[in-house]
């Protein structure tokens, strides 16, 4: 009994050794993405290369990093994923493109996405996402594309989004989303032919 416990522990030590490694680099980015992986169901094995024992996630497929090995893109559109988003995504401080469209994601949009201060594109369209659009997304001053159409979002569109001057929002086909008009934003694409 003691012997098996001992060998089990040696295995656990090696396991901890492997686990402990990414944390040393403050590789919270790899940990955050691995948390996402664990909350997703991935029948096509799109996330097979997401190996948490690697030093950083920069050689994972569908991940792009910059020169400093910080994650700038997550490209998982159209990947047959189900499951839900995780608040840990908000830790990817250098993230510019979060592409999760055309999957079967449910659950809500984590308010923590408002921490992604470098985000340019947030594409969640064609999923089954519910809940409201977090007002924290109004903090994303670099955001150009917010495409959340074809989900099950509810509630009002936060007026904070009006403060993001470059923003182009696409949110049709969310039947319970209220009030498309944003204060201060007037223009509609008209077909004047």
């Amino acid at each position: 009994m003691a012997a098996t416990a001992a060998s089990a522990l040696s295995l656990w030590s090696l396991f901890f050794a492997a686990l402990a490694l990414p944390a040393a680099f403050g590789n919270s980015e790899g940990d955050a993405l691995y948390t996402l992986r664990r909350s997703l169901s991935d029948p096509d094995n799109v996330l097979q290369s997401w190996d948490p024992t690697l030093v950083n996630p920069c050689t994972w497929f569908h991940i792009t990093c910059n020169q400093d090995n910080r994650v700038t893109r997550v490209d998982l559109g159209n990947s047959n994923l189900s499951g839900h988003l995780v608040p840990e995504l908000g830790k990817l401080e250098h993230l510019q493109y979060l592409e999760l469209y055309k999957n079967n994601l449910h659950g809500t949009i984590p308010a923590e996405l408002g921490n992604l201060k470098n985000l340019i594109s947030l594409d969640l369209y064609n999923n089954n996402i519910t809940g409201t659009i977090p007002s924290s997304l109004g903090k994303l001053k670099s955001l150009v594309f917010l495409r959340i159409n074809d989900n099950q979002l509810t509630g009002p569109i936060p007026r904070e989004l009006g403060g993001v001057s470059s923003l182009k929002v696409v949110f049709e086909h969310n039947p319970r989303l209220e009030g498309p008009e944003l204060l201060g934003l007037a223009s509609y694409d008209t077909n004047c032919s």
Partner: protein, 658 residues
């Protein structure tokens, strides 16, 4: 406390000569408590019933010849209740194991009555509160005490060593114990296994633990935050086989005295703040198989005498400030499997014999200042999985033998001065998923045959590779990333590349590729990023680009493309970055849909292009050159504000909902 003792006395006084009957009652009470509110469910105690057969035949229960319960093992039975005080009534118990359930609550003090216990295993549960040391003080027969992986808090139980004269195995790890390691833990006369890892312990590691003469395994690391360092006295633990003090905030130097641990097999000291050199005395650790000193602040070199470590299988020294040359004798280590010394200051060459032992699996020497050539026999045993040499000063060619290394999974050799032709076999390796040879001096041509079935990334940017891009690239069925930019590729783009179903990123910029962009490009529907810039491409932008629904980044700049900007490009809904500048495009730039996002910088240097909004398209000629997609009118007016909100059918939806 008093009430519970009274209860115990009452229960004990209930014991009549029919001890068997009351033990049955106790077992049934135990069952009821341990199952808890989860109810029946699936648990292994379904045969514990009040019937005519003896309780000694219950599963997990063993009795002695007097019918008293001596062994109770209900481990991994899906029990989510708690351990009740009645456990104390089974005073004949020698073995008690309830491991791997979801038991919660506190450890009952009544267990003090189990004075015959030799084995107590409460591991892998959710027991909380403190560990009541008093319950074990009378368990003088105890040999194994295991409470690993619970939620226990408070101080480590003290004052237990002098009584537990038979204790061999003590596992208190994986809890939330705080405070210091008691000095008294040095007094267990027979202790062979001590684990306190994975807690919140602090203070200094007591040097007196060196008195545990029989200790074979010592685990103190992971989440503990000790002050001070490794006591040099630990060199006296001559029976020690495993020393694990990783990730526990240790400072100071590696004691030379550890070299006396002639039985040491595994030494894990990674992720601390250790300084100083690796003592040459470590070469005396003849049994040492695994040494991990990574993620510290060690300086100096690898001792030459490490050649004596014939049993070394894992040598991890990465992320330190080590330097000097790697001793040649490392290449002669007969059992070396994993060699990871990345991110240090090592210079000079890799040992020539590295890999000749036929056992090498992982080599990572990246981020050093290593020179010389890549050793030839790295894959001699066909076991090499991972070859990581990046960011060094390696020169010379890739040995041909690596083209036959069928076990290879990852090649990362970017940012060196490697030259010659890339061995053709590499593109056929069956296990290879990732190749990054960016930024070297490779030349010659790519092979005409490629069959690497699971290759996901092929990055050869920044070399001097010539010839045509082989059509065989289209055979790399799982390819997601193809980076051939900044080489000397010439001739035409093979359309076979665009059969790759998984291809998401292709960059062939900065080459001499001519001919047209194959129309098959629109079949490559996984594309997210496409860069063909700075080549000699001619002809028109193919029709059907709107099929690339996920394309985010399109750069065709600095080529010789003619014709117009296809109007269907306005339907490329994912396009966020477009560069068509520096070509010979002409006609009117469609200014609707997604193309509204891009200003004139995307089209600069195309003298024939005109834009509706600034009146440059007024000429007849401009209109004649405009390309129109059959079913769509071009818009003639549009918003001039920067901000555009598209609300296509929302009004409709609102009406429907109300």
């Amino acid at each position: 406390m008093c009430c519970r003792l009274l209860l115990l006395l009452l229960l004990l006084s209930g014991i009549t000569s029919c001890s068997g009957d009351s033990e049955l009652t106790v077992l049934l009470q135990l069952k009821s408590s341990m199952i808890g509110t989860a109810g029946g469910g699936s648990n292994g105690l379904s045969d514990w019933k009040d019937s005519s057969s003896s309780h000694c035949s219950f599963s997990g229960v063993t009795c002695d010849e007097d019918g008293e319960v001596v062994s109770l093992d209900v481990s991994y039975q899906n029990l989510t209740g708690s351990l009740p005080p009645e456990i104390g009534i089974l005073s004949s118990l020698v073995n008690l194991a309830v491991a791997g359930n979801g038991l919660t609550g506190t450890i009952p003090l009544e267990m003090a009555n189990l004075t015959s216990l030799k084995l107590l295993n409460l591991s892998n549960n959710g027991f909380s509160g403190e560990f009541p040391g008093e319950i074990v003080r009378s368990m003088t027969q105890l040999e194994v005490l295991d409470v690993y992986n619970n939620n226990l808090t408070g101080q480590l139980p003290d004052g237990i060593a002098t009584n537990l004269v038979n204790l061999k195995h003590l596992h208190l790890g994986g809890n939330y114990f705080s405070g210091e390691i008691p000095e008294s833990y040095s007094e267990f006369p027979k202790l062979e296994y001590l684990a306190l890892s994975g807690n919140s312990l602090s203070g200094q590691v007591p040097a007196s633990l060196a008195r545990l003469k029989k200790l074979r395994e010592l685990y103190l690391g992971y989440f503990n935050t000790f002050s001070g360092g490794i006591p040099p006295e630990f060199g006296l633990l001559t029976e020690l086989q495993v020393l694990d003090m990783a990730t526990c905030n240790l400072t100071g130097e590696l004691p030379a005295s550890l070299g006396r641990l002639s039985n040491l097999c595994a030494c894990f000291l990674q992720m601390n703040h250790l300084t100083g050199n690796i003592p040459t005395e470590f070469s005396m650790l003849s049994d040492l198989s695994m040494l991990d000193l990574s993620l510290n602040n060690l300086t100096g070199g690898i001792p030459e005498s490490f050649s004596q470590l014939k049993n070394m299988t894992l040598l991890n020294l990465f992320v330190n400030s080590l330097g000097g040359r790697i001793p040649k004798s490392i290449g002669d280590m007969p059992n070396l499997r994993l060699f990871q010394i990345w991110q240090n200051n090592f210079t000079s060459e890799l040992p020539e014999n590295l890999g000749r032992n036929g056992k090498l699996e992982v080599v990572d020497v990246s981020f050093n200042r290593l020179t010389g050539t890549v050793p030839e026999n790295l894959c001699q045993g066909m076991k090499l999985k991972s070859l990581v040499l990046m960011n060094n000063l390696f020169s010379g060619p890739i040995p041909e033998q690596l083209g036959g290394c069928e076990s290879l999974r990852r090649i990362r050799i970017q940012s060196n001065f490697l030259n010659g032709t890339i061995p053709a076999g590499i593109f056929n390796l069956p296990e290879l998923t990732l190749v990054d040879m960016t930024q070297n001096e490779f030349s010659g041509e790519l092979p005409k045959e490629m069959s690497g079935k699971i290759l996901g990334m092929l990055a050869l940017s920044g070399n001097s590779i010539t010839g045509r891009i082989p059509a065989a690239t289209g055979n790399l069925q799982n390819l997601q990333i193809l980076s051939l930019d900044r080489n000397r590729f010439n001739n035409q783009l093979p359309e076979e590349i665009f059969n790759l179903r998984s291809l998401s990123k292709i960059n062939i910029s900065g080459n001499n590729i001519d001919g047209g962009i194959p129309p098959e490009i629109s079949n490559c529907t996984s594309l997210i990023s496409l860069d063909f810039s700075r080549n000699n491409l001619s002809g028109e932008i193919p029709r059907g680009m709107d099929q690339l629904k996920d394309l985010n980044h399109l750069d065709l700049s600095e080529n010789q493309l003619t014709g117009g900007v296809p109007s269907e490009m306005q339907y490329m809904s994912s396009l966020t970055s477009l560069n068509l500048s520096g070509n010979k495009l002409s006609g009117r730039v469609p200014n609707s849909g997604q193309l509204l996002m891009f200003d004139e910088s995307s089209y600069a240097g195309n003298s024939g292009l005109c834009f509706s909004y600034n009146g440059t398209c007024s000429s007849q000629k401009a209109k004649a050159n405009a390309i129109e997609n059959a079913g769509h009118k071009t818009t003639t007016c549009f918003s001039t504000l920067k901000l555009v909100i598209i609300v296509l059918s929302l009004c409709y939806q609102l009406v429907q909902c109300w």
